[in-house]
């Protein structure tokens, strides 16, 4: 068997608008690169087995589970994490929705929930409740029972389409 050697590989990527260059082992996961190398600890690790969605970030405009992508696979790419959503100190409408509708309790799942929601609303600005629940199938929450998460998504959808937010 050919012996693998731990050659480090140069990678470059833009994260939340800032360019980073580093040399990494091929086996380094993107989530560890973001958290340990860049100190962006808003992206969480829950299950580490591709199930829970705590680690969801954008890679080249698509939501992905960063515990299941190698840092080298993001080479040359554009990443956005939860830290990149707020603009000029103003929460993004999805962040606002989770705040307003009490879409979290412990908050562990929240960064991933927000990133997945953001990507859903980009594809489908006006989702039905069924579509919301389907789009969040890869994000597990042990606290909320999901009801307020659905409301948070609906609130964000209203805000983003310029409508008034539902009160409930």
């Amino acid at each position: 068997m050919a012996e693998a050697v731990a050659t480090r590989i140069p990678v470059k990527m833009t994260v939340n608008g800032t360019e980073y260059a580093a040399e990494v082992e091929p086996r380094l996961l993107l989530v560890h690169f973001l958290r340990d190398n860049l100190g962006l600890t808003g992206t969480h690790i829950g299950c580490d087995t591709s199930q829970c969605g705590a680690c969801v970030v954008y890679l080249n405009g698509e939501s992905i589970k960063s515990c299941t992508v190698l840092a080298v696979q993001a080479d040359g790419g554009e990443v956005m994490t939860i830290e990149g959503l707020a603009k000029d100190g103003e929460y993004d409408p999805v962040q606002q929705g989770f705040w307003e509708m009490h879409g979290l309790q412990c908050g562990y799942c929240t960064p991933g929930m927000i990133m997945s929601t953001h990507s859903l609303l980009k594809r489908n600005p006006n989702p039905s409740e069924t579509e919301i629940r389907h789009a969040l199938e890869g994000n597990l929450c042990r606290c909320t029972g999901y009801q307020n998460i659905v409301k948070a998504v609906q609130y964000a959808a209203e805000q983003m389409s310029g409508g008034s937010a539902p009160t409930s």
Partner: protein, 285 residues
């Protein structure tokens, strides 16, 4: 969890990829990584090197003129969102929309799913029922492998270690063909506990001229339910023939059970899902 160490190659052509595979028999292709990376984290797979196909030209895209041709590296998200595919064969977009979750769909590829031959995968059964095939390119040249010959056993295909799937072809269906897929997803992962894909063609005499039915999730590999197919051919597609086919569907299948669903329960689901898939296909005629 970290995978153990490996070398990483990112070829820009299929020829270069094959070269890497030929030089190192323990190297593995990396497509979307959504089966391979989890397996490597658990050390169930310990490749010495990964050959990442992401930068190889010409492996992505969907062509819908007559036969449908899909590049091996096309992701589920691309299948899900393609307007051309939704018009030409909406079933493929629907199936893609129900693989795992949206994040799995962003990364997982059609070629990777067929090459991996997971016993609970969706597209294995769907491509088998639709009579599809893959183009495989290796040191020995290029060949077309029909889905009937591709799946050999649990996680095992007839691909050689140095062969790359470059394209998947779904033949243009005959007139009056209805197709459908029914899946019972595992509540945690979404993988099929049982999935049944059907493609039924009705001839000029009003009787079924061709039926292909494939199950997944319950057998070591995606498998044709031949007893159900035989129950349909030559009969009109109606409640009676659909019922007979559904009841026959589990016959001759090597149905497995696990802590989540017993073999008996899965056999029951094969019957129920065959009935529902055939009813949906009849409506889609």
């Amino acid at each position: 969890m970290f995978p153990s160490q490996f070398d990483y190659h990112r070829p820009s052509s299929v020829a270069e990829a094959i070269q890497f595979l030929q030089n190192d028999p323990d190297a593995k292709i990396l497509a979307g990584g959504h089966s391979l990376i989890p397996a490597m984290k658990l050390r169930l797979a310990v490749p010495s090197a990964l050959v990442d196909l992401s930068q190889v030209d010409g492996l992505r895209g969907i062509a819908v003129n007559g036969d449908i041709r899909i590049g091996a590296m096309t992701t589920y998200a691309q299948l899900r969102d393609s307007d051309a595919l939704k018009a030409a064969m909406p079933l493929l977009s629907e199936v893609a929309n129900n693989v795992g979750d949206p994040q799995v769909q962003s990364r997982g590829t059609l070629g990777g799913s067929l090459a991996h031959a997971d016993p609970a995968a969706d597209f294995t059964a769907v491509v088998l029922a639709l009579g599809g095939s893959v183009k495989a390119v290796g040191t020995g040249g290029e060949r077309e492998i029909s889905a009937d010959d591709l799946f050999v056993d649990l996680f095992t295909t007839s691909l050689n270690p140095d062969e790359v799937i470059t394209e998947v072809t779904i033949p243009n269906p005959a007139a009056r063909t209805g197709m459908a897929y029914q899946k019972r997803g595992h509540p945690a992962s979404g993988y099929a506990v049982v999935g049944v894909a059907v493609s039924v063609t009705v001839g000029d005499d009003g009787n079924v001229s061709d039926a292909r039915i494939a199950v997944t999730g319950c057998t070591p590999k995606a498998t044709r339910a031949t007893a159900a197919e035989q129950a349909l051919v030559g009969k009109p597609l109606n409640e009676a023939s659909i019922d007979a086919a559904a009841k026959a569907a589990p016959e001759g299948l090597d149905i497995n059970g696990d802590h989540y669903a017993s073999a008996e329960y899965r056999a029951h689901l094969v019957e129920v899902d065959t009935r529902r898939a055939l009813e949906a296909a009849a409506k889609a005629l």
